[in-house]
Symmetry: C2
Subunit: 213 residues, 2 copies
Amino acid sequence: MSEFAKTDRTTITRLPKRGVYDNETVYSILDEALVCTVAFVRDNQPFQIPTGFCRIGNKIYIHGSVGSFYMRELAEKKLPVCISVTLLDGLVLARSAFHHSVNYRSVVLFSQAEKVTNDDEVYEALEVFTNKMQPGRWNDVRKPNSGEWKATMVLSFAIDEASAKVRVGPPKDDEEDYALDVWAGVIPLKIERSTPIPDPALKSGVTLPHYLS
Amino acid sequence: MSEFAKTDRTTITRLPKRGVYDNETVYSILDEALVCTVAFVRDNQPFQIPTGFCRIGNKIYIHGSVGSFYMRELAEKKLPVCISVTLLDGLVLARSAFHHSVNYRSVVLFSQAEKVTNDDEVYEALEVFTNKMQPGRWNDVRKPNSGEWKATMVLSFAIDEASAKVRVGPPKDDEEDYALDVWAGVIPLKIERSTPIPDPALKSGVTLPHYLS
Protein backbone atom coordinates (compact mmCIF):
# COMPACT_ATOMS: atom_id res chain seq x y z
CA MET A 1 0.00 0.00 0.00
CA SER A 2 1.42 3.39 -0.98
CA GLU A 3 1.50 6.27 1.44
CA PHE A 4 1.88 10.01 1.08
CA ALA A 5 5.04 11.28 2.76
CA LYS A 6 4.15 13.30 5.87
CA THR A 7 5.17 16.93 5.66
CA ASP A 8 4.94 19.77 8.20
CA ARG A 9 1.73 20.84 6.51
CA THR A 10 0.02 17.47 6.25
CA THR A 11 0.96 15.82 9.52
CA ILE A 12 -2.09 15.61 11.79
CA THR A 13 -1.10 17.15 15.11
CA ARG A 14 -4.52 17.37 16.83
CA LEU A 15 -5.66 13.79 17.61
CA PRO A 16 -2.85 12.29 15.52
CA LYS A 17 -4.35 8.79 15.71
CA ARG A 18 -7.05 10.02 13.32
CA GLY A 19 -4.42 10.78 10.66
CA VAL A 20 -4.43 8.50 7.62
CA TYR A 21 -1.78 8.80 4.93
CA ASP A 22 -2.34 5.94 2.51
CA ASN A 23 -3.25 6.82 -1.07
CA GLU A 24 -6.20 4.46 -1.14
CA THR A 25 -8.01 6.21 1.74
CA VAL A 26 -7.24 9.68 0.42
CA TYR A 27 -8.41 8.75 -3.09
CA SER A 28 -11.60 7.07 -1.88
CA ILE A 29 -12.62 10.17 0.10
CA LEU A 30 -11.90 12.41 -2.88
CA ASP A 31 -13.93 10.13 -5.15
CA GLU A 32 -16.96 10.16 -2.87
CA ALA A 33 -17.04 13.92 -2.22
CA LEU A 34 -18.93 15.97 -4.79
CA VAL A 35 -17.58 19.34 -3.68
CA CYS A 36 -14.19 20.57 -2.54
CA THR A 37 -13.05 24.00 -1.40
CA VAL A 38 -10.02 25.55 -3.03
CA ALA A 39 -8.17 28.07 -0.84
CA PHE A 40 -5.52 30.46 -2.08
CA VAL A 41 -3.87 33.72 -1.07
CA ARG A 42 -4.43 37.08 -2.76
CA ASP A 43 -2.68 40.16 -1.32
CA ASN A 44 -1.98 38.19 1.85
CA GLN A 45 -5.73 37.52 2.32
CA PRO A 46 -7.16 34.00 2.32
CA PHE A 47 -9.85 33.16 -0.25
CA GLN A 48 -11.95 30.04 -0.68
CA ILE A 49 -14.02 28.79 -3.58
CA PRO A 50 -16.33 25.77 -3.24
CA THR A 51 -16.40 23.83 -6.51
CA GLY A 52 -17.14 20.44 -8.05
CA PHE A 53 -14.15 18.30 -8.93
CA CYS A 54 -13.03 14.83 -9.90
CA ARG A 55 -9.91 12.75 -9.50
CA ILE A 56 -8.03 10.83 -12.17
CA GLY A 57 -4.90 9.02 -11.03
CA ASN A 58 -2.93 11.32 -8.77
CA LYS A 59 -4.59 14.53 -9.98
CA ILE A 60 -7.63 16.54 -9.04
CA TYR A 61 -9.45 18.33 -11.85
CA ILE A 62 -11.72 21.36 -11.65
CA HIS A 63 -13.28 23.20 -14.55
CA GLY A 64 -14.94 26.51 -15.18
CA SER A 65 -15.31 29.36 -17.60
CA VAL A 66 -12.24 30.72 -19.35
CA GLY A 67 -13.47 34.02 -17.91
CA SER A 68 -13.12 32.79 -14.31
CA PHE A 69 -10.82 35.30 -12.67
CA TYR A 70 -9.66 33.03 -9.87
CA MET A 71 -8.97 30.06 -12.15
CA ARG A 72 -6.85 32.20 -14.44
CA GLU A 73 -5.09 33.65 -11.44
CA LEU A 74 -4.31 30.19 -10.03
CA ALA A 75 -2.97 28.98 -13.37
CA GLU A 76 -1.05 32.07 -14.45
CA LYS A 77 0.51 32.99 -11.13
CA LYS A 78 1.11 29.38 -10.04
CA LEU A 79 -0.33 30.23 -6.65
CA PRO A 80 -0.01 27.68 -3.87
CA VAL A 81 -3.43 26.21 -3.09
CA CYS A 82 -4.92 24.20 -0.27
CA ILE A 83 -7.84 21.95 -1.19
CA SER A 84 -10.11 20.23 1.32
CA VAL A 85 -13.10 17.91 1.25
CA THR A 86 -15.18 16.66 4.16
CA LEU A 87 -17.65 13.79 4.35
CA LEU A 88 -19.87 13.73 7.42
CA ASP A 89 -20.74 10.17 8.41
CA GLY A 90 -22.45 10.60 11.74
CA LEU A 91 -23.21 12.60 14.84
CA VAL A 92 -21.51 11.10 17.88
CA LEU A 93 -23.63 11.69 20.96
CA ALA A 94 -21.68 11.11 24.15
CA ARG A 95 -22.89 11.18 27.76
CA SER A 96 -20.99 14.39 28.39
CA ALA A 97 -21.25 17.53 26.26
CA PHE A 98 -17.45 17.58 26.11
CA HIS A 99 -17.11 14.23 24.32
CA HIS A 100 -19.66 14.93 21.61
CA SER A 101 -18.06 14.52 18.23
CA VAL A 102 -18.74 13.67 14.61
CA ASN A 103 -17.70 10.72 12.49
CA TYR A 104 -16.11 12.11 9.37
CA ARG A 105 -13.58 11.54 6.64
CA SER A 106 -11.70 14.60 5.44
CA VAL A 107 -8.77 15.27 3.14
CA VAL A 108 -6.53 18.32 3.06
CA LEU A 109 -3.94 18.67 0.32
CA PHE A 110 -1.47 21.26 -0.88
CA SER A 111 -0.77 21.76 -4.54
CA GLN A 112 -0.49 24.18 -7.45
CA ALA A 113 -2.70 24.59 -10.50
CA GLU A 114 -1.66 23.43 -13.92
CA LYS A 115 -3.76 24.55 -16.87
CA VAL A 116 -4.68 21.47 -18.89
CA THR A 117 -3.92 22.11 -22.55
CA ASN A 118 -4.05 18.58 -23.91
CA ASP A 119 -7.47 18.05 -25.54
CA ASP A 120 -7.68 14.37 -24.59
CA GLU A 121 -6.97 15.19 -20.96
CA VAL A 122 -9.61 17.94 -20.95
CA TYR A 123 -12.14 15.56 -22.52
CA GLU A 124 -11.38 12.82 -20.02
CA ALA A 125 -11.68 15.25 -17.08
CA LEU A 126 -15.12 16.43 -18.24
CA GLU A 127 -16.27 12.86 -18.85
CA VAL A 128 -15.07 11.59 -15.47
CA PHE A 129 -16.55 14.64 -13.73
CA THR A 130 -19.96 14.18 -15.36
CA ASN A 131 -20.04 10.46 -14.62
CA LYS A 132 -18.99 11.14 -11.03
CA MET A 133 -22.05 13.38 -10.57
CA GLN A 134 -24.23 10.74 -12.19
CA PRO A 135 -22.77 7.41 -13.33
CA GLY A 136 -23.79 6.68 -16.91
CA ARG A 137 -24.61 10.26 -17.75
CA TRP A 138 -21.82 11.17 -20.17
CA ASN A 139 -22.86 8.70 -22.87
CA ASP A 140 -26.38 10.05 -22.79
CA VAL A 141 -25.85 13.78 -23.31
CA ARG A 142 -24.82 16.15 -26.06
CA LYS A 143 -21.05 16.53 -25.95
CA PRO A 144 -19.36 19.93 -25.88
CA ASN A 145 -19.46 21.77 -29.21
CA SER A 146 -16.56 23.90 -30.37
CA GLY A 147 -17.89 27.08 -28.75
CA GLU A 148 -18.39 25.35 -25.40
CA TRP A 149 -15.01 23.71 -25.72
CA LYS A 150 -13.33 27.10 -26.17
CA ALA A 151 -15.28 28.55 -23.24
CA THR A 152 -14.18 25.85 -20.79
CA MET A 153 -11.00 25.88 -18.76
CA VAL A 154 -9.73 22.82 -16.90
CA LEU A 155 -7.11 22.95 -14.17
CA SER A 156 -5.30 19.99 -12.65
CA PHE A 157 -3.68 19.74 -9.23
CA ALA A 158 -1.16 17.00 -8.49
CA ILE A 159 -2.00 15.08 -5.31
CA ASP A 160 1.47 14.78 -3.84
CA GLU A 161 1.16 16.41 -0.43
CA ALA A 162 -2.02 15.13 1.17
CA SER A 163 -3.42 13.58 4.30
CA ALA A 164 -6.77 12.34 5.52
CA LYS A 165 -8.35 12.55 8.95
CA VAL A 166 -10.95 9.97 9.90
CA ARG A 167 -13.12 9.32 12.93
CA VAL A 168 -15.28 6.20 13.16
CA GLY A 169 -17.18 4.37 15.84
CA PRO A 170 -19.11 5.02 19.03
CA PRO A 171 -18.54 7.82 21.55
CA LYS A 172 -15.65 7.63 24.01
CA ASP A 173 -16.77 8.82 27.42
CA ASP A 174 -14.98 9.33 30.71
CA GLU A 175 -15.01 6.12 32.73
CA GLU A 176 -17.35 7.44 35.44
CA ASP A 177 -19.88 8.76 32.89
CA TYR A 178 -20.79 5.28 31.61
CA ALA A 179 -22.96 4.93 34.70
CA LEU A 180 -25.11 7.95 33.77
CA ASP A 181 -28.68 7.47 32.58
CA VAL A 182 -27.91 9.29 29.34
CA TRP A 183 -28.49 7.70 25.94
CA ALA A 184 -25.31 7.61 23.87
CA GLY A 185 -24.57 6.47 20.37
CA VAL A 186 -24.24 7.52 16.78
CA ILE A 187 -26.76 9.08 14.38
CA PRO A 188 -25.56 8.01 10.94
CA LEU A 189 -25.64 10.71 8.25
CA LYS A 190 -25.82 10.03 4.55
CA ILE A 191 -26.43 12.08 1.43
CA GLU A 192 -29.63 10.69 -0.06
CA ARG A 193 -30.59 11.10 -3.70
CA SER A 194 -34.36 11.28 -3.88
CA THR A 195 -36.81 10.82 -6.74
CA PRO A 196 -35.67 12.63 -9.89
CA ILE A 197 -37.74 15.72 -10.76
CA PRO A 198 -38.20 15.95 -14.53
CA ASP A 199 -37.55 19.32 -16.15
CA PRO A 200 -40.97 20.97 -16.71
CA ALA A 201 -39.77 21.51 -20.29
CA LEU A 202 -38.97 17.81 -20.81
CA LYS A 203 -39.80 16.66 -24.33
CA SER A 204 -42.87 14.46 -24.27
CA GLY A 205 -42.12 10.75 -24.55
CA VAL A 206 -38.65 10.98 -23.01
CA THR A 207 -38.48 8.49 -20.16
CA LEU A 208 -36.20 8.22 -17.15
CA PRO A 209 -32.93 6.53 -18.19
CA HIS A 210 -32.06 3.17 -16.65
CA TYR A 211 -29.14 4.64 -14.64
CA LEU A 212 -31.59 6.88 -12.77
CA SER A 213 -34.31 4.38 -11.93
CA MET B 1 -34.70 43.15 5.17
CA SER B 2 -31.05 43.85 6.07
CA GLU B 3 -28.29 43.26 3.57
CA PHE B 4 -24.54 42.86 3.84
CA ALA B 5 -22.68 45.62 2.04
CA LYS B 6 -20.98 44.25 -1.07
CA THR B 7 -17.21 44.50 -1.00
CA ASP B 8 -14.57 43.62 -3.59
CA ARG B 9 -14.15 40.31 -1.82
CA THR B 10 -17.79 39.34 -1.44
CA THR B 11 -19.31 40.54 -4.70
CA ILE B 12 -20.20 37.54 -6.86
CA THR B 13 -18.57 38.10 -10.25
CA ARG B 14 -19.16 34.68 -11.88
CA LEU B 15 -22.91 34.29 -12.55
CA PRO B 16 -23.71 37.43 -10.49
CA LYS B 17 -27.45 36.69 -10.54
CA ARG B 18 -26.75 33.84 -8.11
CA GLY B 19 -25.38 36.29 -5.56
CA VAL B 20 -27.51 36.85 -2.46
CA TYR B 21 -26.60 39.44 0.14
CA ASP B 22 -29.45 39.55 2.64
CA ASN B 23 -28.68 38.57 6.21
CA GLU B 24 -31.61 36.17 6.42
CA THR B 25 -30.37 33.98 3.56
CA VAL B 26 -26.77 34.02 4.78
CA TYR B 27 -27.84 33.16 8.33
CA SER B 28 -30.18 30.35 7.25
CA ILE B 29 -27.41 28.67 5.23
CA LEU B 30 -25.00 28.96 8.14
CA ASP B 31 -27.60 27.52 10.51
CA GLU B 32 -28.26 24.50 8.33
CA ALA B 33 -24.63 23.61 7.59
CA LEU B 34 -22.94 21.39 10.18
CA VAL B 35 -19.40 21.97 8.96
CA CYS B 36 -17.50 24.99 7.68
CA THR B 37 -13.96 25.35 6.43
CA VAL B 38 -11.75 28.00 7.94
CA ALA B 39 -8.97 29.24 5.64
CA PHE B 40 -6.04 31.36 6.74
CA VAL B 41 -2.53 32.25 5.62
CA ARG B 42 0.67 31.02 7.25
CA ASP B 43 4.01 32.05 5.68
CA ASN B 44 2.15 33.08 2.55
CA GLN B 45 0.70 29.57 2.20
CA PRO B 46 -3.05 28.90 2.32
CA PHE B 47 -4.35 26.51 4.98
CA GLN B 48 -7.84 25.14 5.54
CA ILE B 49 -9.42 23.44 8.53
CA PRO B 50 -12.86 21.80 8.34
CA THR B 51 -14.69 22.22 11.64
CA GLY B 52 -18.10 22.26 13.27
CA PHE B 53 -19.55 25.66 14.12
CA CYS B 54 -22.67 27.49 15.14
CA ARG B 55 -24.06 30.99 14.67
CA ILE B 56 -25.46 33.30 17.35
CA GLY B 57 -26.59 36.71 16.16
CA ASN B 58 -23.99 38.08 13.80
CA LYS B 59 -21.18 35.82 14.98
CA ILE B 60 -19.89 32.40 14.08
CA TYR B 61 -18.44 30.31 16.90
CA ILE B 62 -15.97 27.44 16.70
CA HIS B 63 -14.42 25.60 19.60
CA GLY B 64 -11.52 23.28 20.22
CA SER B 65 -8.75 22.38 22.58
CA VAL B 66 -6.72 25.13 24.21
CA GLY B 67 -3.80 23.20 22.71
CA SER B 68 -5.01 23.71 19.15
CA PHE B 69 -2.13 25.40 17.37
CA TYR B 70 -4.18 26.95 14.59
CA MET B 71 -6.89 28.30 16.91
CA ARG B 72 -4.28 29.96 19.11
CA GLU B 73 -2.58 31.32 16.01
CA LEU B 74 -5.83 32.78 14.67
CA ALA B 75 -6.63 34.42 17.99
CA GLU B 76 -3.18 35.68 18.95
CA LYS B 77 -2.07 36.93 15.56
CA LYS B 78 -5.49 38.26 14.55
CA LEU B 79 -5.04 36.58 11.18
CA PRO B 80 -7.54 37.37 8.45
CA VAL B 81 -9.72 34.32 7.78
CA CYS B 82 -12.08 33.22 5.07
CA ILE B 83 -14.86 30.86 6.13
CA SER B 84 -17.09 28.95 3.72
CA VAL B 85 -19.99 26.53 3.94
CA THR B 86 -21.72 24.70 1.10
CA LEU B 87 -25.06 22.89 1.06
CA LEU B 88 -25.68 20.67 -1.95
CA ASP B 89 -29.37 20.55 -2.82
CA GLY B 90 -29.40 18.71 -6.12
CA LEU B 91 -27.70 17.48 -9.25
CA VAL B 92 -28.89 19.39 -12.28
CA LEU B 93 -28.85 17.12 -15.33
CA ALA B 94 -29.10 19.07 -18.56
CA ARG B 95 -29.38 17.79 -22.12
CA SER B 96 -25.87 18.98 -22.88
CA ALA B 97 -22.80 18.09 -20.83
CA PHE B 98 -21.94 21.80 -20.78
CA HIS B 99 -25.10 22.88 -18.93
CA HIS B 100 -24.87 20.30 -16.16
CA SER B 101 -24.84 22.03 -12.82
CA VAL B 102 -25.71 21.63 -9.17
CA ASN B 103 -28.30 23.30 -7.02
CA TYR B 104 -26.51 24.64 -3.98
CA ARG B 105 -26.46 27.29 -1.29
CA SER B 106 -23.05 28.50 -0.21
CA VAL B 107 -21.71 31.28 1.97
CA VAL B 108 -18.25 32.81 1.92
CA LEU B 109 -17.29 35.34 4.57
CA PHE B 110 -14.20 37.24 5.64
CA SER B 111 -13.47 37.90 9.27
CA GLN B 112 -10.98 37.74 12.10
CA ALA B 113 -10.94 35.55 15.22
CA GLU B 114 -11.78 36.89 18.64
CA LYS B 115 -11.03 34.66 21.63
CA VAL B 116 -14.19 34.46 23.75
CA THR B 117 -13.29 35.16 27.36
CA ASN B 118 -16.73 35.81 28.81
CA ASP B 119 -17.92 32.61 30.54
CA ASP B 120 -21.59 33.16 29.70
CA GLU B 121 -20.75 33.60 26.03
CA VAL B 122 -18.60 30.44 26.03
CA TYR B 123 -21.43 28.52 27.71
CA GLU B 124 -24.01 29.77 25.24
CA ALA B 125 -21.79 28.91 22.27
CA LEU B 126 -21.34 25.33 23.50
CA GLU B 127 -25.05 24.97 24.22
CA VAL B 128 -26.12 26.33 20.83
CA PHE B 129 -23.50 24.21 19.07
CA THR B 130 -24.64 21.00 20.80
CA ASN B 131 -28.30 21.71 20.14
CA LYS B 132 -27.51 22.51 16.50
CA MET B 133 -25.99 19.03 16.10
CA GLN B 134 -28.97 17.50 17.83
CA PRO B 135 -31.89 19.64 19.00
CA GLY B 136 -32.74 18.89 22.63
CA ARG B 137 -29.37 17.34 23.40
CA TRP B 138 -27.84 19.94 25.73
CA ASN B 139 -30.39 19.51 28.50
CA ASP B 140 -29.82 15.79 28.51
CA VAL B 141 -26.05 15.53 28.93
CA ARG B 142 -23.44 16.07 31.58
CA LYS B 143 -22.28 19.68 31.37
CA PRO B 144 -18.59 20.61 31.18
CA ASN B 145 -16.72 20.20 34.47
CA SER B 146 -13.99 22.59 35.51
CA GLY B 147 -11.22 20.59 33.85
CA GLU B 148 -13.10 20.39 30.56
CA TRP B 149 -13.99 24.05 30.82
CA LYS B 150 -10.30 24.97 31.12
CA ALA B 151 -9.37 22.69 28.23
CA THR B 152 -11.84 24.29 25.81
CA MET B 153 -11.21 27.35 23.69
CA VAL B 154 -13.98 29.20 21.87
CA LEU B 155 -13.37 31.67 19.05
CA SER B 156 -15.92 34.02 17.55
CA PHE B 157 -15.92 35.60 14.10
CA ALA B 158 -18.09 38.60 13.33
CA ILE B 159 -20.23 38.13 10.22
CA ASP B 160 -19.82 41.55 8.66
CA GLU B 161 -18.41 40.84 5.23
CA ALA B 162 -20.36 37.96 3.74
CA SER B 163 -22.26 36.84 0.70
CA ALA B 164 -24.23 33.80 -0.39
CA LYS B 165 -24.44 32.14 -3.77
CA VAL B 166 -27.54 30.13 -4.58
CA ARG B 167 -28.72 28.07 -7.54
CA VAL B 168 -32.23 26.60 -7.63
CA GLY B 169 -34.50 25.07 -10.22
CA PRO B 170 -34.36 22.98 -13.37
CA PRO B 171 -31.58 22.90 -15.97
CA LYS B 172 -31.22 25.70 -18.51
CA ASP B 173 -30.40 24.29 -21.92
CA ASP B 174 -29.62 25.87 -25.24
CA GLU B 175 -32.81 26.46 -27.21
CA GLU B 176 -32.11 23.85 -29.87
CA ASP B 177 -31.26 21.15 -27.29
CA TYR B 178 -34.81 21.02 -25.88
CA ALA B 179 -35.70 18.91 -28.92
CA LEU B 180 -33.16 16.20 -28.00
CA ASP B 181 -34.36 12.83 -26.71
CA VAL B 182 -32.33 13.25 -23.52
CA TRP B 183 -33.91 13.10 -20.08
CA ALA B 184 -33.28 16.28 -18.10
CA GLY B 185 -34.16 17.32 -14.59
CA VAL B 186 -32.93 17.51 -11.03
CA ILE B 187 -31.88 14.76 -8.61
CA PRO B 188 -32.56 16.25 -5.16
CA LEU B 189 -29.87 15.65 -2.54
CA LYS B 190 -30.48 15.71 1.16
CA ILE B 191 -28.52 14.75 4.26
CA GLU B 192 -30.51 11.95 5.87
CA ARG B 193 -30.22 11.00 9.52
CA SER B 194 -30.82 7.29 9.81
CA THR B 195 -31.71 5.05 12.75
CA PRO B 196 -29.60 5.86 15.82
CA ILE B 197 -27.00 3.21 16.67
CA PRO B 198 -26.76 2.79 20.45
CA ASP B 199 -23.29 2.76 21.98
CA PRO B 200 -22.40 -0.93 22.61
CA ALA B 201 -21.51 0.20 26.14
CA LEU B 202 -24.94 1.78 26.71
CA LYS B 203 -26.14 1.30 30.28
CA SER B 204 -28.94 -1.23 30.34
CA GLY B 205 -32.40 0.28 30.70
CA VAL B 206 -31.50 3.60 29.05
CA THR B 207 -33.96 4.23 26.23
CA LEU B 208 -33.84 6.45 23.19
CA PRO B 209 -34.76 10.02 24.18
CA HIS B 210 -37.91 11.56 22.67
CA TYR B 211 -35.92 14.04 20.57
CA LEU B 212 -34.28 11.13 18.72
CA SER B 213 -37.34 9.00 18.00
